[in-house]
């Protein structure tokens, strides 16, 4: 899986793609940051799941979490968050507020769940297309890396791949076990 991940960092688009791949060929990459491997998955699947009507009460099962998650920045799944919580903006921990669009891409953290002492991969997606800050800032940034490891870069806007670039708030989605 690690090899898959590494190449994921070569994520690219349009005209740059072919030349980019040539550079990648020359690169002698080594295995690293294996735990973040699943991370990038979370971001990209979102456009397939545009809406739900659960009002945000249906969190992941098997995490030992309460039905209503705390809005406390210190809560375990916010370990790499850098932004403001969508649960304070009319959304929920896993839902963008009405009228905003989930970011197509995301950065990822690896957070320890105190309920089962396991590490989980958390995808931090921005909700896009609406102006005006909301919610209190929450910047924990554990595992944050600069843009050369873009999938872990909390200092980036993650509305960058959306048509609508405005960042409204950020959600935290538990997308996998970090094995």
């Amino acid at each position: 899986m690690a090899k898959l991940l590494e190449n994921f960092f070569t994520w690219m688009d349009g005209a740059a793609e072919t030349r980019a791949r040539n550079i990648a060929h020359r690169a002698g990459r080594r295995s690293f940051l294996q735990k973040a491997g699943w991370a990038l998955v979370g971001g990209v699947v979102l456009p397939m799941l545009p809406y739900d009507n659960s009002n945000g009460v249906a969190y992941a099962r098997g995490l030992g979490e309460p039905d209503e998650l705390p809005e406390d920045c210190e809560y375990w799944r916010y370990c790499s968050l850098h932004g403001s919580l969508c649960s304070q903006c009319g959304g929920s921990v896993t839902q963008c507020p009405p009228g905003t669009q989930p970011s197509k891409v995301a950065w990822v953290g690896t957070c320890r769940n105190p309920n089962d002492d396991k590490d989980y991969l958390v995808s931090y997606n921005d909700c896009c297309g609406k102006g005006g800050g909301c919610g209190e800032g929450c910047s924990r940034q554990e595992g944050d890396r600069p843009g050369y490891l873009m999938g872990l870069a909390s200092e980036s806007s993650w509305c960058q791949a959306n048509d609508n670039k405005g960042i409204h708030c950020t959600v935290a989605i538990v997308v996998g076990l970090a094995e």
């Binding site: 998955v41 699947v45 809406y51 009319g90 009405p98 009228g99 909301c134 076990l177 094995e179």
Partner: protein
């Protein structure tokens, strides 16, 4: 394999994700990965709408708060220096603002944006003449006709006029000139509105059936703009209009006859020691069932202090001309009341950047008590409550 993966599309990645659960270790309750969605509907229930005006070229927003606990439930966004109006049923937010191609310079657009409050989504945009008043928001700068067929928007270039938007057609139907006058106070019936003029009179404009022309009627002198000017802020008391002056004189006016007539003028601070005056932006709010006017007031009134923070919210019995209660507050600059038997007040604190909810006790002379608050994160002078 590596090269193939670098070509992955979204759907290929989706397939990968479906495999995740298989890799998870066995647990008592198996782990199911979460999915990200956008919430479809705004949480139902009574709301307070706050217009957060951005004067720096950035986005203004109308934030929807739950009237219950003031948590944010949605947002409608706009351009610079927003004005707003909310339909009577609370289902529609109208926002007018400016978009400038280089934010502080460049090509200018003045745009009406219409949002559905159930989904917090934009439903329509209407381009307006680039004349909309760039003025600290007051409710009177943008008003719906009683039947919500027309939207009236205050212009100032600085020449003043009113753009009339036909909301059924979604287009501008006329621009009514109102030289030397400002503020829009729509009639309770038909398609007329009054405006305050700089000589202390009001002019009432009555639109033709198609909204394309108007007739105007000028009132007698109502107030003295030099000695004791009135605020733009207003509310209805029954069929009458209420205004208040810098010095705390409540002007009750009738517009029922197609022209403004004075009904009464009631000084509410005259007999109170300490040079009390009206203090704030949204300063006139009247609770119908009890006939109580709520006004933000401050002591030590002086020239220039009329927009300062209030020190108290006064509950004034307008019929019996009696000051019932003075609730101490900090930083409050706008106050509205609901029209419930047991009123709820909502206030704005510009300096503190927050909206505050007050419970009012009719048994305790309409004393108010703060029970909830939340951040507004910006410059706010206007707000509205809807069931």
């Amino acid at each position: 394999m590596a090269n193939r993966f670098s070509l992955l599309t979204c759907s290929a990645v989706l397939a990968l994700q479906l495999a995740v659960p298989n890799l998870a270790q066995a647990q008592e309750e198996p782990f199911v990965p979460e999915t990200l969605t956008a919430k479809e509907m705004v949480d139902p229930g009574p709301k307070v709408f706050v217009n957060v005006q951005n004067w720096g070229g950035g986005p203004s927003v109308v934030r929807f708060y739950s009237a219950d606990d003031l948590r944010v439930v949605g947002t409608a966004d706009a351009g610079a220096q927003s004005h707003f109006a909310i339909s009577a049923d609370g289902k529609t937010v109208y926002i007018v603002s400016g978009y400038y191609s280089r934010l502080s310079s460049g090509t200018a657009e003045h745009v009406l944006r219409i949002f559905d409050t159930d989904t917090a989504s934009l439903t329509k945009e209407v381009q307006l003449p680039v004349k909309v008043s760039q003025y600290t928001d007051d409710a009177s700068l943008m008003q719906l006709s009683a039947d919500e067929k027309y939207l009236y928007v205050q212009n100032a270039t600085p020449a003043t006029s009113v753009t009339v938007v036909d909301l059924e057609k979604g287009e501008v139907v006329q621009e009514v000139p109102s030289p030397g006058c400002f503020g829009i106070y729509p009639s309770l019936k038909g398609h007329a509105y009054s405006t305050i003029c700089g000589d202390g009179t009001f002019t009432t404009m009555t639109l033709s059936a198609d909204g394309a022309t108007f007739e105007s009627q000028k009132s007698d002198t109502i107030f003295d703009p030099e000695e004791d000017p009135i605020y733009l802020s207003f509310d209805r008391a029954g069929a009458d209009l209420l205004f208040i002056s810098y010095k705390g004189v409540v002007h009750r006016l009738s517009d029922a006859g197609g022209i403004i007539k004075a009904v009464s003028a009631t000084p509410i601070a005259e007999s109170v020691e300490g040079d009390w005056g009206t203090s704030g932006y949204t300063v006139v709010s009247y609770n119908e069932p009890n006939g109580i006017l709520f006004v933000p007031m401050a002591s030590g009134r002086h020239d220039g202090s009329h927009y300062h923070d209030a020190e108290e919210i006064w509950a004034y019995d307008l019929e019996n001309k009696k000051l019932l209660y003075r609730t101490p507050v900090e930083g409050i600059t706008s106050v509205i009341t609901t029209d419930e038997e047991v009123p709820t007040l909502f206030g704005l604190d510009i300096g503190g950047g927050k909206v505050v909810k007050f419970e009012v006790d009719p048994e305790a002379k309409f004393a108010a008590k703060p029970v909830a608050e939340n951040a507004t994160k910006g410059f706010t002078t206007t707000l509205a409550a809807r069931q």
